[in-house]
Amino acid sequence: MENRTFAVANSPHVHDNSSIQKIMWNVFLALIPATFVSVYAFGFQAARVIAVSTIAAVVFEYIALLFMKRDWRACFDGSAAVTGLLLGLTLPSNISTGIILIGSFVAIIIAKQVFGGLGHNPFNPALTARVFLLIAFPGPLTTWPLPRGLENASKFMGVATTKVADAVTTATPLGAIKQNAVQAMPNININDLVFGLQTPGSIGEISALALLLGGIWLLYKKIITWHIPVAVIASVGFVALITWRIDPKHYADPFFHFFAGGLFIGAFFMATDYVTAPIFSTGKLIYGAGVGLLTIIIRLWGGYPEGISFAILIMNAVTPLLDRWTVPKPFGFQKVRSKS
């Protein structure tokens, strides 16, 4: 009988058909509700910011891959697009295109490709870029235009608005609290924070509900696990609850801290970044708790009104240690008999 020859390949010979592309585009999809809300609230300006940052990120990725003689098609794997989109969502709507380009450059080239590209960056690229911009351009990065419908308000949560060039700007809810808690506190409107249509702030962080929808999608798709978001939100809530119970006049209640600022986008989308978060469940819980604690500490007693960017970046630095400390015992592990 004539023998037939066959192709030879490695076991296992089946695969679950998952891919980096699918994961990344799912994250992208999960950010779509927040994107819609931001475009609705801030109009064309928000669309401009998001489009510029996303496209620039992909283009920078392409350039970097070409430059490093790698497969340039990897720039369409979605990771650069997600980084760009996340960066765009953390910026104010009236920021100039030049600054966005610088941000995309820092995110892709300096925070990601210099370290070896996807999978090798120690710090979350989008957040690195945002913090870089915050320090390099503190003015534009802390000027928050009022969303549609509030254009002519003279005060937001007790803080006077300012007219710059073509927009009316003011402080974010967290900024208002920071400036004068006693004055701002009675003006808190949780509904606004949840839906985000009437709140100044980074374009993507204003609607907690839209972000929560995205987060649930990620959980449903098993792209993230519950550990990090729950740990972050729980630890923020824990500290906020204590301080609020002690001194409700100067400290806002936990719900305000949940829905104000970037807690949800941070907890669901940035802290859960695979590359920079711990890999074991125990590590994820510790990491999440660390992010939450640092966030609320900066919010309550730090120099900045919002601290989640810093908190995540700081905990990114701790990730390798957590990965070392939280290794589970392998199957059938036996205690070492001492050598001596």
């Binding site: 020859t5 066959f6 192709a7 030879v8 390949a9 490695n10």
Partner: protein, 321 residues
């Protein structure tokens, strides 16, 4: 104005103070190091290839001045060895310069292929799957050796067999370690005759898997005692041999680098043709010589018989007398 002055003074003062501190500490915490380490490092090749077993050339230099004698630097050869010995004041170790040799000429045309290996980029991976050729001892051509070579001396030409450029090879031996098939070995640079096969299979198998495989027939060993046959595989242990030695091999496994470079012998069809022509010529000559020798022998025998007969005849005659 005042502010600027103050700033300048403060910064300058801080800088000065720190500088002084640095200078002070560099003296206090100075690590005494044998000056010979630097000298030895100077004469070493500086490829940091790790072939000596140390992490780099500086480590090797440190080991030299330390206790115990490290093995000679395989890359630098005799020159470096004597230079190091001079610095240390010892006698130079005797080193023969070695180069790597891929003992395989089984290109795609000559070696029988197994099914295509999918998703394999490295020899080590291919080896786990049983290799891409029927012969399990040959070069698989995925270039694990190319990747480790610090001197860029190895190339995979067409035909998927790695070839070492002996002139570029620094003899570090990293490729030997990297090769899962153990098809690369270190040979003295001066050696001119090589057996280009690594097949330890029995003859019947080697014949089915490759047209240029060594079948361990021992013909070469009969013509030159420097050929040693072990595990169905010949290897040459001498330095050089008669230029006609390659012609005796029935499977054209032996190459004489004075006539053909290894590269030409492995991948060039032209070289093969030339070789075959030379071989045929040699065989023909040998046949004629043999024929002549046989005839001469026959003639001699006839002559001897005649003489014998004559002698007997004369003896008879003598008896008769």
């Amino acid at each position: 104005m005042n502010g600027i002055l103050i700033a300048i003074v403060v910064l300058f003062g801080t800088g000065l103070a720190l500088g002084l501190l640095l200078a002070y500490f560099s003296k206090v915490f100075h690590v005494e190091e044998d000056p010979r380490i630097d000298q030895i490092e100077e004469v070493l090749p500086g490829a940091n290839c790790g072939a000596c077993g140390m992490a780099g050339c500086r480590d090797y230099a440190k080991a030299c001045v330390g206790e115990g004698e490290p093995p000679a630097c395989p890359v630098g050869g005799a020159a470096v060895s004597s230079a190091v010995a001079k610095i240390l004041g010892t006698v130079a170790q005797d080193v023969e310069a070695m180069v790597a040799l891929v003992k395989c000429a089984g290109t795609e045309k000559r070696a029988t292929a197994r099914g295509p290996l999918e998703g394999v980029n490295r020899c080590a991976e291919a080896f786990l799957l049983g290799g891409n050729k029927d012969c399990r001892h040959g070069c698989m051509g995925y270039g694990d050796c190319v990747r480790v070579c610090p001197a860029d001396a190895i190339t995979i030409y067409q035909g998927n067999v790695a070839i070492v450029d002996a002139d570029k090879c620094i003899g570090c031996g990293l490729c030997v370690q990297a090769c899962p098939s153990h098809v690369i070995s270190m040979v003295p640079k001066s050696r001119t005759v090589h057996v280009l096969c690594n097949s330890k299979d029995i003859a019947a198998l080697t014949r089915t898997s490759c047209t240029v495989g060594c079948i361990g027939c021992r013909i070469c060993a009969r013509s030159d005692a420097a050929f040693v046959i072990e595990d169905n595989l010949a290897s040459f242990t001498g330095t050089t041999a008669e230029s006609t030695v390659p012609y005796v091999c029935p499977n054209d496994v032996i190459v004489d680098t004075r006539a053909f470079s290894v590269r030409a012998f492995v991948e060039s069809d032209r070289a093969r043709e030339d070789f075959t022509a030379a071989k045929t010529e040699f065989k023909e000559k040998e046949r004629l010589e043999k024929l002549a020798a046989a005839e001469a022998k026959k003639a001699a025998a006839a002559k001897a018989a005649q003489e014998k007969a004559a002698a007997e005849g004369s003896a008879k005659e003598g008896k008769d007398e």
